[in-house]
Symmetry: C2
Subunit: 210 residues, 2 copies
C-alpha cells in the first residue's frame, strides 16, 4: 500500500517502528537521553544495520558518534505512526472478547481511544464498568463521519464478520483490526490486520512437538 | 529453531500451512476432493510457486496434472502442525481477556483444548459459564507434568508477565502465546508468539493516515 507521495515502506518496518518506540519510552523512563544505534538495536532485538535502514525511510536521524536523542526520535517515530495525538477507534461486537477490549485500560497511553462500541443487540445487559456507549449498527455511518474515525476493531462472530466489514468500509473506515477467524474481502485501499489466536497456537504447536 | 532431525523451516511457512489447512477444510466442506496447486494458492492468497515451495519442506505431495487430494493433504499438514489430535493448553491470568479466551468455543475444532486455568486469585467470583477449573499458581508444575502440557496462553498484566513466564518454562512449557505488552525473556528452546493489540492498531494507524 502506497501512501500519498511517500516511498512504499515494508509493513515489517512499520511493526519495528512500534518496537523502537517502546524501547525509547523505556529509555526515557530510565532517564537516558541519548542512545547509540547499537544499543537501541540490541534493546529491540534487531541488527544495527536493520535499525538504520528502517529509520532511513523517514529521513536523517542521529549524529555520527553521538547516537540518537531519545526524546526527538520518540517524537519523530510517533508522528510517523500517527500516534502523537489520541486517535479514535470504534469497536464492533460486544461479546466476551469485545468486552475485554473495552475494559482494557492500556490503549490510551499507546495513542488510541475506543470512543464507541456497536453491537447488533446494544441493549443486552453487560458489565457495568464500561465507559463507552453501545450503539446499534444503524448509528455507525453517522458516528464514524462525525468523529472522523478511520480505524475499527472487529470482534463479531465469523458468520457476520464479512457483512460488518462491508458496513465499516462503506462508512469510511480504512483500517480494520480483525479478530474473527475468517479472511475478509475489502477494497484495495482498506488495510486489515488479523489477530487469529488459533493460528498462533497452531504455529506454537509445530515448534513444541518433540 | 531447529527441530530434531528436520531442516530448519521458516516460521512464515508454518503460518502459511495454517492458512492452507483452513482452505482445504473449506474445499472439503464444499464437497471438493482434488485441487490444483494454482487453485489452492489462489484461495490462500499466495503464489503457486510459494505453495509448492512450502509443501516441499515436508515431502512430495500431489500428482502432476491431477493436483492434490484434499483429504490427504489436510491430514498431512495437520500431522505436521501437531493438531491432528486435541492438544492441551493451559491459560494463566483469568481477568477480562483470560475469561473471554476461556469462554471461546472455537478452539476445539482447531485442535486445542484449554484444560485448566491459573490465577493468583483463583477463588475470585467469575462468570459461571466457565467449564475449566481455576487453580492457584502453586498447582501449575504438577498439572503441566501430569497432563503433558507444552503450551500456555499468558494473559496476565505486564507487571507479572515475566515472573509467570519463568514459572511456565520451569514447569516444562515450551510454547507461550503472550498477550502481555512486554517482550519476554525465555530460554532458547522456548518459543513465544506475541499478540499485541496496541502494536496492531499502531500499524494500522500508519496506513490509515491521509
Amino acid at each position: 500500500m502506497k501512501k500519498n507521495g511517500r516511498p512504499e515502506i515494508p509493513r515489517k518496518t512499520i511493526y519495528r517502528l512500534s518496537i523502537y518506540l517502546r524501547c525509547l519510552a523505556r529509555l526515557h523512563e530510565n532517564g537516558i537521553s541519548t542512545v547509540s544505534s547499537e544499543a537501541l538495536a540490541k534493546a529491540a532485538g534487531v541488527k544495527p544495520t536493520q535499525l538504520r535502514k528502517d529509520l532511513a525511510y523517514f529521513g536523517t536521524f542521529g549524529t555520527r558518534g553521538l547516537g540518537y536523542d531519545v526524546t526527538d526520535l520518540f517524537k519523530r517515530i510517533s508522528e510517523e505512526l500517527g500516534t502523537s495525538r489520541l486517535q479514535p477507534v470504534v469497536l464492533v461486537g460486544v461479546g466476551h472478547l469485545g468486552l475485554a477490549l473495552l475494559l482494557y485500560r492500556g490503549f490510551e497511553k499507546e495513542g488510541f481511544e475506543i470512543t464507541a462500541a456497536f453491537d447488533s443487540d446494544p441493549l443486552r445487559v453487560r458489565d457495568a464498568e464500561i465507559k463507552q456507549p453501545i450503539h446499534g449498527m444503524e448509528e455507525l455511518p453517522e458516528l464514524v463521519k462525525r468523529q472522523h474515525v478511520k480505524m475499527a476493531i472487529l470482534a463479531v462472530p465469523a458468520t457476520s464478520a464479512q457483512e460488518v466489514a462491508n458496513q465499516l468500509t462503506q462508512a469510511g473506515i480504512t483500517g480494520i483490526l480483525n479478530f474473527s477467524p475468517i479472511v475478509l474481502s475489502v477494497p484495495e485501499e482498506v488495510m486489515v490486520n488479523n489477530v487469529n489466536v488459533a493460528i498462533e497456537l497452531e504455529n506454537l504447536s509445530y515448534f513444541t512437538q518433540e
